[in-house]
Symmetry: C2
Subunit: 213 residues, 2 copies
C-alpha cells in the first residue's frame, strides 16, 4: 500500500476497530459484500464518513458495488497490526488487576498477558490466572528478556507516573492506563487511558437533553 | 441558550469532558483567559476544531481575545449536566465491581454510587465500600424508590443483556457497560461501553508505524 499512514487522523484510527467488529459480525452472518450505507446503519454513522475513513488506506470498494467483507476485515486488521500476537504485561494486581487478568477478551484478540507485577509482598509469587506475580524490580529484566511491547497499568493514581517511567525505561512502547490520573509520556510512546468518568460525563448530556424533551 | 442541542454531533459531546479537564488544569494554574491555540496545544488538537466544537453552543470567546477559562468551564459543565449529582447503581460485585466501587473518581465528579447488586448469595448482605450488596430482585424497587438514573454494569458477558433489560424496565436511562459484549438497548437509552480491547487495537497501529520508521 502506498498510503502515507502519518496522514491518517487519530479519530479515523480509533474508528477502525469498530469497523472490524461490525465486519466480523457480518462475516459470521455469511455476508460477502456490504455497502457503506449498510455499515453506516449498523454503526449509526454517516455512509460518507465511512467512505472517507476507508479512502485513507486506498481503494477497498468498487463504485456502487460495496465492500468485500472478508477482504476489508483482513486489510483493516493488517493495518492495525491485529494479524500478530502482542506480548503484554500487567502492573498492579489489586482488585482491578485481578479483574483485568481474568478478562476473557484480550487473548482471543492477540493480546497475550505474559507477565504481572506488584509491589505487595503478599501478592508476589502467587499465581493469578496462570501467571506468577513478580516484584516491581523484575519489570526491566522481564520486559527486555521477553520482548514485551505493551503494558497495562492498574496501580493507584499516585504510583502510576513512576510505574510508567519504569516501563518506558525498560522498552515498553504502548501503555493502556487504568489509573485515574493524567500521565506524561514521551512523544514516541503511545498511551490510551481507560477513564469511566469521561464516559459518564458525555452520557449525562443525553440524559439531560432527553429529560427536557 | 438558543442552541439546538439535537444538532450537536456525538463526537463533539464526547470531546467536551476533555475540554473541561484541560480548563480545570488551567484554572488551577490561575489562568484567566485561554486561546484556542493554547487549548489546542494542550490537547494536541487543531485550534480550528476547538473553535468549531465550541461554536455549537453559542459565543464563548471574543474574536482574538480567547476564552474566559472560568466561564467556559462552568458553561460546559452545565451543558453536560455536571453541575448536579447523578444517582448511580452498580450491578455485579465480582473483582471488577469491587474495583469500580472503590474507584475514587466517581463521587468527586457527581456520580454517587448509592446501590449495588449481585446474584451471588455469598455477596448479598455484605458491605462493600459502605454500600450493602442487594439481590438482583431488588433492582426494580431500589431504582424506583431512590430514583437512580445511571447504572454501571460489571457482570459477565452472558448475563449482561438480561441485566440491562431489567435495568431499563426499572427506569434506568443511562448505562455504562463493562461487559465485553455488544448489547441492544432502545433508542431513548444512552449506553457507553468500556472496552479495553478497542483501546489496545488502535494503539497497535502506532506501535507498528513507529517500528517501520
Amino acid at each position: 500500500m502506498d498510503t502515507n499512514l502519518n496522514a491518517v487522523p487519530d479519530v479515523v484510527i480509533l474508528r477502525l476497530p469498530l469497523y472490524i467488529r461490525a465486519l466480523n459480525v457480518l462475516l459470521n452472518e455469511q455476508k460477502d459484500v456490504v455497502s457503506s450505507r449498510q455499515l453506516g446503519s449498523f454503526l449509526q454513522m454517516e455512509p460518507a464518513q465511512i467512505r472517507k475513513d476507508l479512502s485513507y488506506f486506498g481503494r477497498f470498494g468498487k463504485q456502487g458495488r460495496g465492500y468485500n467483507v472478508e477482504f476489508l476485515v483482513n486489510e483493516l486488521g493488517q493495518i492495525l497490526g491485529l494479524d500478530r500476537k502482542w506480548l503484554t504485561c500487567l502492573v498492579g494486581m489489586g482488585r482491578l488487576g485481578q479483574a483485568i487478568i481474568n478478562y476473557p477478551g484480550f487473548a482471543p484478540e492477540g493480546f497475550d498477558i505474559v507477565a504481572a507485577f506488584d509491589s505487595d509482598t503478599r501478592q508476589i509469587g502467587t499465581d493469578v490466572g496462570g501467571i506468577k506475580v513478580l516484584p516491581m524490580l523484575s519489570i526491566g529484566p522481564t520486559i527486555e528478556k521477553r520482548k514485551v511491547a505493551i503494558a497495562i497499568v492498574a496501580v493507584p493514581a499516585q504510583q502510576a507516573q513512576s510505574v510508567v517511567d519504569q516501563l518506558i525505561h525498560a522498552g515498553i512502547k504502548g501503555i493502556l492506563n487504568y489509573a485515574p490520573v493524567a500521565l506524561k509520556v514521551p512523544t514516541d510512546i503511545v498511551m490510551r487511558n481507560i477513564d469511566p468518568v469521561v464516559s459518564l460525563q458525555s452520557l449525562t448530556f443525553y440524559l439531560l437533553r432527553n429529560q427536557q424533551r
